[in-house]
């Protein structure tokens, strides 16, 4: 690595890593009072609390968050792939309007969207249910998924599917053995977006879930309110890990081929 490369590398490491330094310090501190720059006493109390006392609660939060994010990501793809294909490959009247409608839940403050939908969800019996929370997360995730896949399909040459057909591939196999591998990097990005977006939802989960669905962010806010900083820091780190794993896992599939195959 040359000088400039090294500089770039450390700039990225620092800017990404900086926020985590205080978290790490807090999670391992026993006593840290103003005006000390450094914790006065180090210890494992916070981590002990996370893994033993509150262990089952946090594991429950992790499971709920994971299930929610995976379900949301899966449905986002199921909607996003056909929608992105239609928008990317075909011209039809009202296409610009679709783009506007899609961007609405993103530009309208999420609080307003969640509050407004809450009233509907109560009537429909969706409030305080897993399905209701998935639906409210989808209002934010689906637009992102569609936008990503719209871009992917704008660069997609459907002739490759005709080629596959004349080589003996049935319609179903064209989707499975040609289209999906071709758009895999885009699908990964869309899935990752949806997963992470759902993973970090707090407000909408709180409003629609009404405290019944204890996701990790809900637990985290409760802990922060209690004023126990070391424990809040430790839970924050636990919160980051699955998101980080998802990012690294997908970065491999994005990086290996990039988006070049789409062209």
């Amino acid at each position: 690595m040359n000088g400039r490369g090294r500089l770039l590398f450390w700039t990225i490491v620092l800017s990404v890593g900086m926020p985590f330094v205080p978290l790490l310090l807090w999670s391992f501190s026993e006593r840290w009072f103003f005006p000390a720059l450094w914790p006065q006493d180090f210890g494992l109390r916070a981590w002990g609390y996370v893994f033993t006392t509150a262990g089952s609660q946090i594991l429950g939060g992790l499971t709920t968050s994971c299930l929610l994010a995976l379900t949301t990501a899966a449905i986002s793809l199921l909607v996003g792939i056909p929608a992105g294909r239609a928008l990317g490959l075909y011209n039809f009247p009202g296409k610009r309007l679709v783009a506007l409608v899609l961007i609405m839940p993103i530009i309208v403050p999420p609080l307003a969207v969640a509050m407004g939908l809450h009233l509907w969800f109560i009537r429909l019996g969706l409030a305080e249910t897993f399905a209701g929370v998935v639906l409210i997360h989808l209002t934010f995730c689906v637009p992102y998924a569609i936008f990503v896949l719209w871009g992917v399909f704008s660069d997609y040459n459907p002739e490759i599917e005709e080629q596959a057909r004349t080589l003996g591939a049935s319609a179903g196999r064209v989707v499975w053995s040609v289209m999906l591998p071709m758009i895999l990097p885009g699908v990964t990005v869309a899935a990752l977006f949806s997963f992470l977006l759902s993973w970090s939802q707090y407000l909408s989960t709180l409003i629609i879930g009404g405290g019944k669905l204890l996701t990790l962010p809900i637990l985290l806010f409760a802990l922060m309110d209690s004023g126990d900083r070391p424990v809040a820091a430790a839970v924050s780190l636990v919160f980051v890990v699955p998101a980080f794993v998802a990012l690294v896992a997908s970065a491999r599939s994005i990086g290996r081929r990039g988006l070049q195959g789409v062209r």
């Binding site: 040459n157 002739e159 490759i160 005709e162 080629q163 596959a164 057909r165 004349t166 080589l167 003996g168 591939a169 049935s170 319609a171 196999r173 053995s177 040609v178 591998p181 071709m182 895999l184 081929r257 070049q260 195959g261």
Partner: protein, 345 residues
């Protein structure tokens, strides 16, 4: 091995008729070129034969069996597109094996067919390469191998070499002929390039404005055009007006025998390389003109001779004429094609 028969094939896009009443037969093991300018609907015909585009009317039969109801994946045809369209997520070997995998061929027999095709197309040693590591010519050879490994009755080629440079294109034509000799595959080859059509095929079919105008061996369509448009397409751009009487075409300064029926308005056409120039003889009643343009084009030079009846285009090897020089023109009788003028658009 395979026969193809198109009967009264008409294809429409919406209200626009792209191909009208096309009749065409391909014999077993024949290469036929479908030649025509861009936008003549050549690729449309291929897509219809491949089953990718439903025709408006007419029928398609492969080996004597109607194929109209068969979807693309079950037709015994493979279409090779202009672009190689290789699957970027598969390597060369997997690309070639794609069709066999889709049609459920596995095991040693499939392996053997793939290896044979790799040998014929000269791709040995490249099986494990990723497709973006190949050159344009190699990519198109992989596309050919991928199609041929399925041993289709009819191989359809849609200008497969138009994105390659001249030398590679020549090599690919040779390869097509070699493959044809080794596999005896019947091929329908679409191109807008005359020399490609002549170099590759046994017969040429000329498609103009969605209609088949003339079908025959390359020399025949080139030297014996069926009508004015065909003659023009092949570069026969000198048109002498006149009339036909008593078995003779009478022009301003030419008189040639013809088998065509009498006609008040007729034209005689001659290829630019068939016009002969000689030093002008003063006082002669033979046509004369002045050289008004010389354009060097490599092997041939294109001269424009301005005559009383309009400009005449002449192709000549190493011309020794100068701009403004007065020359005599000779139109050899056996090189003039006479048509009734009504055919001209």
């Amino acid at each position: 091995m395979g026969r193809l028969e198109l009967r009264e094939l008409t294809i429409r896009y919406g209200a626009k008729t792209v191909i009208s009443e096309l009749n065409l037969q391909l014999q077993d093991g024949e290469i036929l070129s479908l030649l025509g300018p861009s936008g003549a609907g050549k690729s449309t015909v291929l897509k219809a034969v491949a089953g990718l585009l439903p025709p408006f009317s007419g029928s398609i039969a492969i080996n004597g069996q109607p194929a109209d109801h068969l979807p693309a994946e079950r037709r015994d045809t493979v279409l090779i597109f202009q672009k190689p369209l290789l699957f970027p997520f598969l390597n060369v070997g997997q690309n070639i094996a794609f069709g066999l995998r889709m049609t459920g061929h596995r095991g040693a027999a499939a392996r053997q067919r793939i290896e044979r095709m790799i040998a014929i197309t000269g791709l040995q040693g490249l099986e494990l390469r990723r497709v973006h590591q190949l050159s344009g010519g190699q990519q198109q050879r992989v596309a050919l191998a991928r199609g041929l490994v399925l041993e289709p009755s009819i191989l359809l080629l849609d200008e497969p070499f138009s994105s390659l440079d001249a030398e590679l294109r020549e090599q690919m034509r040779e390869l097509i002929r070699t493959i044809q000799q080794q596999t005896k595959t019947t091929m329908l080859f679409v191109t807008h390039d005359q020399s490609e059509a002549f170099g590759v095929s046994d017969r040429v079919a000329l498609l103009l404005d969605g209609r088949l105008r003339q079908t025959g061996p390359p020399e025949q369509v080139f030297y014996r055009p069926a009508d004015v448009d065909v003659a023009r397409f092949f570069g026969c751009n000198n048109v002498l007006p006149g009339s036909i009487r008593d078995g003779y075409f009478h022009g301003a300064r030419v008189r040639v025998p013809t088998e065509r029926a009498d006609c008040n308005e007729a034209v005689a056409m001659i290829r630019p390389e068939d016009v002969r120039l000689y030093p002008a003889v003063p006082g002669s009643d033979r046509p004369t003109g002045r050289i008004s343009g010389i354009r060097f084009q490599g092997a041939m030079s294109r001269l424009t001779v301005t005559t009383e009846d309009g400009p005449v285009s002449v192709l000549s090897i190493r011309p020794h004429w100068h701009l403004g020089e007065l020359v005599g023109l000779e139109f050899p009788a056996d090189r003039l094609h006479v048509f009734p003028a009504g055919q001209e658009k």
